[in-house]
């Protein structure tokens, strides 16, 4: 069965950033959305911003879909409650771990419960630094991955409805088993999170003047170390077995590194060090390119601009006029002078021409 648009009504349990954003997205399709949150203020904000309406105790609500947008710790219990309360509804959760929730759900309902046919675990991979319904936006999931993790119990109808939700949110649907999903996010999401935190932790005791030499490398590696501990403790705890396996591999490599650094002139030490770096090269090159396409080597070039409003716009306007698409763009943080460096990545085929055109137009280009 192909996914269609949802008909509604849709009950969204939890009105945080994700729940309220789903409500807003569904309302944009004119779907009847009921929003409920244990926190009256969070629910009130979600309703104020148009994410849905309050539950009317007098009505006999028969939702087509219940979206459980609760913290990972309580998602299974809320899903179980929804499956029992709404006998005709498909129920999905959107927590960023899936096996632990499926297991807990089977513990609550019994592994052979017929109720499980109406449940599909999902994971929309979108989030923001900010949380809460005030940060919600209907476009939050636009073009982002939304993973459907159907279990063997999930009915085709339930999968179709879950798929329709992702489609209505303009997300890109992926189909993983719960185990595949948890292994994948342990690697691509949970590992970088913990490693970023471990690197950032080292900065806590540093003399400030040392940090004045910080460059983009440190900034990139530690950016996500600013994430919210409360949420991440739940995520990491729920996916501990899979993350543990990966982290133990990191520890093995870290011990290799420590061995080489402990005796850098010992026979083979440099070879081991080079091997560690080369393995990093190999892994990094496997990360897919923009828009989920195959990994592609873009050429970077850097243009100097005055650090004032309009300069970057002027540059990109001219690049647009030249007809080159900028694949990635970052501002280079540099100490002292008020000059910005704009790093652009473009398709290799476009580079030479672009550099010539920009230089002709008077831009200072650093290849």
């Amino acid at each position: 069965m192909n996914p269609t648009h949802l008909l509604g009504p849709v009950l969204v349990l939890g009105s945080g950033l994700l729940g309220a954003s789903i409500g807003l997205g569904l309302r944009a399709h004119g779907i009847d959305v009921v929003v409920s949150d244990p926190s009256p203020s969070a629910q009130a904000v979600a309703i104020d911003i148009g994410a849905g309406r309050a539950f009317d105790v007098s009505e006999d609500l028969a939702p087509e879909l219940v979206v459980v947008a609760a913290p990972p710790d309580v998602s299974a219990a809320v899903v179980a409650g929804a499956l029992k309360t709404y006998p005709d509804a498909v129920v999905v959760d959107i927590a960023s771990v899936k096996v632990a929730i499926a297991t807990e759900l089977e513990t609550i309902l019994g592994a052979d419960s017929e109720l499980l046919a109406r449940y599909v675990g999902t994971h929309p991979m979108a989030g923001r630094e900010r949380s809460g319904p005030v940060a919600a936006r209907g476009e939050l999931f636009n073009s982002m991955p939304w993973v459907l993790c159907a279990s063997e119990s999930s009915s085709k109808h339930a999968v179709k409805v879950a798929h329709s939700l992702a489609i209505d949110m303009n997300a890109v649907v992926f189909r993983f088993s719960p185990e595949e999903h948890d292994s994948a996010v342990a690697l691509v999401s949970h590992l970088p999170q913990v490693m970023s935190s471990l690197v950032a932790s080292r900065l806590a005791e540093t003399p400030a003047h040392a940090l004045s030499l910080a460059g983009n490398g440190l900034r990139d590696v530690t950016r996500i170390a600013a994430s919210d501990p409360t949420l991440w403790v739940q995520i990491l705890g729920a996916n501990a077995p899979r993350l543990l396996e990966i982290v133990q591999g990191v520890r093995t490599d870290l011990d290799r590194l420590i061995t080489t650094l402990s005796a850098p002139t010992a026979p083979g030490a440099r070879l081991d060090l080079a091997q560690l770096m080369a393995e990093g090269n190999a892994g990094q090159s496997r990360i897919p390119g923009k828009h989920g396409g195959p990994a592609q080597q873009y050429t970077w070039l850097t243009v100097l601009v005055d650090d004032k409003p309009g300069q970057i716009a002027k540059l990109l306007t001219e690049i647009g006029a030249i007809g080159v698409n900028v694949e990635d763009l970052r501002l280079d943080h540099s100490a002292g002078l008020q000059v910005g460096m704009v790093e652009l990545s473009v398709l290799p085929a476009k580079r030479v021409g672009l550099v010539e055109d920009l230089t002709e137009r008077g831009w200072k280009v650093i290849l």
Copy 2:
């Protein structure tokens, strides 16, 4: 003595990316630059692009300054040779480690050698993904940190000349002792490099479909894992003792993480996990802001744009018109649809007005 502009002639030994870029920068000031490289082809390219002239065997060259732009492994030997060959010249190296070179130099010349008065170790913190003279640009050091690491032996005159070189390159000068420098770069440069490589290594064996879920977090953390192993082996090897100390701290924290992940439901496990994350928050918040200013919390907001030339330019043109300075800007890599998300960071005070103005102008803004 205040730094002035260099008078020249300047002899640049090594015509790779950095040496050739220094030559180009000095030539832009009309300074006589002689470029020499053990590789005839590298030297020829450097001279072709205008980084300087070839050494004339018939002339009696008396350089004001000799810049040793050789790989870290050989820098000390080249510095020693230059100090002996050119009795009136100040000699600087630009390698990214300083203590090991100073120590090796004292071994070669003797710790009390008068020649050491004319040497100053320096470290211009600029580089590119690409290497070699073809990638050289005179603006490479523009607004980037250039660390001067004078030793107790260094004469005031030598420091002044080294300082003048950095000024002529439009760099931002920092004064560190060699030990302070090596400790600082171990933390802000070498640690993120090795950790990024360790994370990226984990991706080598992964099923490709898992990597299809990769987001900005993974991309940021592994970006520098693409760096050149040959150069990094020399850098890490030369700064091994300082990096080792930091990496052992990481290992202690990694073992704390492994303990919590091994028994995530044990008493205190979640608290330890939260503690590790919170320590990362604390360290990350200490990284200085753009242009070496104090760390500042910018507000991020995201705008949806079509992924085609000119769209980002149009957005930034309007932001410029609104009069808001974009502190940082990144394109969000998202799977599937050809829609880009432009993440902008602006001063918190500017946010509300900017969001209103952009929304009025029809942009889809995600706070």
